[in-house]
Amino acid sequence: MQDFDYAAPISTHEAVQLLADPGHKAVVLAGGTDILVLLRERRRRATLVVDVKKIAELNELAMTADGGLFLGAAVPCSRIYREAAITEKYAALVDATKIIGGWQIQSRATVGGNLCNASPAADSIPPLAIYDAVAEIAGPNGRRQMPVADFCSGVGKNVMARGDLLVAIILPPIEARSGAAFQRFIPRNEMDIAVASAASLVELDDQGIICKARIVLGAVATTAVRASHAEEALVGQPPSDELFAQAGALAERSARPIDDMRGTIEYRKHLCGVLTRRTLAIAVERAQSKTQ
């Protein structure tokens, strides 16, 4: 491991100052489940590690005034899935936080870190994207917000610049008659990295017809991809297995996967279809159970 300094600021302002310090190559440490591995394996270099777990704002997990969710960037997965209000509303995010690593990892790993790390296979990103989540970033020039869907710019890359800190992820409120689900495919049953994943969200109208759909695929392109054609095919239709299968087939076409040790191109595309179909069925079931 390389030598580095360590700082644990207690305010966002202080953290941004440290991160912007031109005399340092600084990295943020949230749960550390990615960054410590990267530093240790010398895949990332740093002279200063800024631990953000002591900043109050980043540890906040609360429903917003309009019924959305403020998810502080340093909140570990295990806090998210223990919160009844969240499990009720943002089921797809909960699906993801429950399968990131095992218990130990979930007690440390944050959704913020999962997002910033920008792995194509990150499990929380497709769910965040279907909820139209927004990233709140603090930087040397103040604060700004941007859609999570635009946050990652490539494998392991995000749009943040030197001095930027992810403060929180803000999820807009959920429509009453909506449901969502996330699934990934792994060859084992835990401690594995997604070969492909899909998050689906559907909103039903009074007649039970799908009036909005969001499908985002993971691990099949350099960043999470939206399956727009599949979404379009769903809107205005009553939910059915045939419809989900049709959407699945369309979703396959949005995937641009690679061949590697985790799977082949054709298998990954096929999985996109399967997972889209399966998550849609659960999402609709969850939406319907709420409307009853």
Partner: protein, 757 residues
């Protein structure tokens, strides 16, 4: 843990053997006090690190260590130049001859690197971070060479050659010209042409298996201290302290008495901790620095720098009459030996037809060098690949002939007097008894419960060896017995060996206090491997027990002033006329009864103990993703006599789980650049506890006539049947006959979609 008692074919009864006492090393392990290699902390010890090749095949043009040597805190740097002259030196390491030059170059390369991860240089520094920095500062200039990482490609004319001087040895004769094939094994029996002519059905199938690793949880770790008086002390994680001593002494050209090896507690080996890697390198660094040097591998170094077990290509041809009697069998096996010659093709060829009577057979095997780590033993080395190929073909034959898979195995199964195609005639063995237990098992007789499910079955065989073991024992005045042994304890052998001494003396297992000691403190003992330890070291324990008994009888006679021949021993009771003493009472009186009671015993039993197993597995295959779920699993095995049934069950379960990993997901995944892509436990997919159900076990006991308690080896056989059984279950569930391991989801899905077309 199952509490089903073994199915016994013996009427012998025992007091200690067959019970399940608490293991002697248990308290230390559950309290975290057991001392593993990583726990060895010598004063002033330096940390060693290894520089490894980033290339699969290259000539080393230059190694410049000058910058590394100048880094503050660096005490020594070692390269292949530090080896003594080992050209043409061969050492017999008890398990066959080893070319010392090859062994040394595998520990530190000399003029070529032969695989990614091949060790090139090593550094000892004040701390591991400085050592890493120094490693990064070593400059190596390479001339890249074309590489080959598949066994069939390596056999082709024009393939990149790893060792220009290598010749193929066929029946002891060397071939002409450069080659990667170091050995061709051939044997035949009967008349193969006539055999196939007599068949009603002939099947010929081809199989491939991937390179897999033993996956022991504890990485290699060694500490060496080369004293000023020339005495070299090594603490290491090894399956065999004596072989570690022998290899290290030979590599450094030291008299064997100059080296002491202390075996630490070991976190798994499975055959992968017999060859040395770090021991001689740490020794060189210690000599150069004048300090103790500790070296620990990281997981990627374990995958890329230590020996996995070979990938293989196998072709099997079987002929049978319509009522299921095999008439002929032919097999062609090509196994990778890795970067250096000397793989496990021998046992592969001997095991492929080992479960059936085959009057007419031809077997050809090839051992082939490729640009991968030098392969090593892995639990029944070479047998699992062979059994996957044979059992799969046999199952398909049974299906085509519409004969039940157990029935066809009973028709052809080997028994006492059957001759294996490579020659040996089996003594009393328990294969048919295992088949009968399978036939009667609740698993085999219960229906599958849903769609996309299938049940498979396969058998497996492993020789199990004897080799040499020594123990010594002394009786304490409190009625306990100290038992010293040279066998490193990997799977609970301290207890299983202590129990055999306890049985012999008629005392409780807890009253024998076993201890694994260093190479200075006990007679020569071969590796814990070949499923030999409970068998052979247990024999030595029985033998030393008899010696103690004789002395105890003499001491009792001394106390009673009678003729020792008149003393009767019954369990732990010593009697003469109306006098009697328990073992404990007698022990208390020993201080005033003459010479202390101590004994030494050694054994070197020859010939295999022949372990057979039959596994039944139910799977469910997701029709959309082709992911295989193991629903139910039963392992059946002839243990001869289960000394401690829980440990036998543990071996059967552990072997089955490793076989499941091998069958479904484990593989060294190579890129086109011949570099391993998945050298981590994230992407090298060993099953987790969520991936396997409880493995049920049925122990069969057909006593081994060549052991005082009937023991056969048990550790290796259970890894042999799983891939064949699982492939069969997948066929029953999906209609796909998988011929390539691992049967990973992308591969199986592809085959299932092709079948659907």
């Amino acid at each position: 843990m199952s509490d089903i008692s073994p199915i016994s074919y013996s009427d012998k009864t025992f007091k200690v053997i067959g019970t399940r006492p608490v293991r002697h090393d248990g308290a230390d392990k559950v309290t975290g006090r057991a001392l593993y290699g990583a726990d060895v902390q010598l004063p002033g010890a330096l940390h060693g690190k290894v520089l490894r090749s980033p290339h699969a095949h290259a000539r080393i043009k230059l190694i410049d260590t000058s910058i590394a040597e100048k880094i503050e805190g660096v005490y020594a740097v070692a390269t292949g130049k530090d080896w003594p002259d080992l050209v043409d030196k061969i050492a017999d390491l008890g398990e066959g001859a080893v070319h010392l030059k090859d062994l040394s170059e595998n520990c530190l390369a000399v003029d070529k690197v032969l695989y990614k991860g091949h060790a090139i240089a090593a550094v000892a520094a004040r701390d591991v971070h400085i050592a890493e920095a120094a490693i990064a500062a070593i400059r190596v200039d390479y001339e890249l060479l074309p590489a080959v990482t598949s066994v069939l490609d390596a056999m082709k004319p024009g393939a990149p050659i790893l060792h220009p001087g290598l010749k193929t040895e066929t029946l002891g004769q060397p071939s002409q010209g450069p080659t990667n094939i170091d050995r061709h094994v051939h044997f035949e029996t009967g008349d193969i042409a006539a055999g196939f002519a007599a068949a009603d059905l002939i099947l010929e199938r081809e199989f491939e298996t991937a390179t897999v690793h033993q996956g022991y949880i504890e990485p290699q770790v060694s500490t060496a201290l080369w004293n000023e008086d020339g005495q070299l002390k090594i603490w290491t994680s090894t399956q065999g302290s004596f072989t570690a001593r022998h290899q290290t002494a030979e590599l450094l050209q030291l008299p064997i008495s100059k080296v002491t090896v202390t075996p630490c507690e070991i976190g798994g080996g499975f055959g992968g901790k017999i060859a040395v890697y770090l021991e001689p390198v740490a020794a060189i660094l210690s000599r150069k620095s004048g300090r103790a040097v500790k070296m620990t591998m990281q997981r990627d170094e374990v995958f890329e720098g230590t020996g996995p077990t070979p990938a293989s290509f196998i072709r099997v041809k079987l002929g049978a009459t319509k009522d299921g009697k095999l008439t002929a069998g032919q097999a062609y096996l090509a196994y990778e030996s890795g970067a250096f010659p000397g793989g496990v093709i021998g046992p592969g060829t001997m095991c492929i037809f080992s479960c059936v009577e085959l009057p007419n057979a031809v077997v050809d095997g090839y051992d082939v060098c490729v640009n991968k780590p030098k392969t090593q033993a892995y639990r029944a080395p070479g047998a699992t690949q062979a059994a996957f190929a044979f059992e799969s073909t046999f199952n398909e034959l049974a299906e085509q002939l519409q004969i039940d898979p157990i029935a066809i195995r009973r028709i052809n199964g080997v028994k006492e007097g059957s001759r294996r195609v490579d020659g040996p005639v089996y003594p009393r063995i328990g294969y048919l008894e295992c088949l009968e237990a399978a036939q009667n098992s609740s698993h085999w007789n219960s229906p599958l419960e849903g769609p996309n499910q299938g049940r498979g079955i396969a058998a497996g065989y492993w020789f199990n060896i004897g080799l040499k073991s020594s123990v010594s024992a002394s009786v304490n005045p409190d009625g306990t017995v100290n038992l010293l042994e040279g066998s490193t304890d990997i799977g609970g052998t301290r207890t299983s060996i202590a129990m055999q001494l306890a049985e012999t003396l008629g005392i409780p297992a807890a009253d024998v206090l076993p201890k694994v000691v260093d190479t200075d403190s006990i007679g020569y003992t071969d590796v814990t491997g070949g499923s030999r330890t409970t068998f052979a070291t247990g024999m030595a324990a029985h033998k030393v027990g008899l010696k103690l008994l004789e002395q105890l009888t003499a001491r009792a006679a001394f106390l009673w002033d009678c003729d020792p021949a008149e003393v009767k021993v019954d369990g732990d009771l010593y009697r003469w006329r109306d006098q009697q003493l328990t073992f404990k009472q007698l022990a208390e009186k020993l201080p005033s009864a003459g010479d202390p009671v101590v004994g030494h015993a050694s054994v070197s039993p020859e010939g295999p103990t022949n372990g057979f197993g039959v596994h039944i597995v139910d799977v469910e295959v997701d029709p959309d993703t082709a992911k295989v779920k193991i629903l139910r699993y039963t392992a059946i095995q002839d243990a001869g006599k289960a000394i401690h049934p829980s440990y036998v069950e543990g071996q059967m379960q552990g072997g089955a789980v490793q076989g499941i990993g091998w069958a479904l997901n484990e593989e060294y995944f190579y890129g086109d650049d011949h570099k391993m892509r998945n050298a981590s436990l994230l992407d090298y997919r060993i099953p987790t506890c969520l991936d396997v159900p409880m493995i049920d076990t049925i122990i069969v006991e057909v006593p081994n006539p060549n052991h005082p308690f009937g023991v056969r080896g048990v550790g290796e056989t259970p890894i042999v049947p799983p891939p064949g059984a699982i492939a069969d279950a997948i066929f029953q569930a999906t209609g796909v006959r998988a011929t390539r391991l691992p049967i990973s989801p992308p591969r199986l899905w592809k085959a299932m979609s092709q079948l659907a077309k």
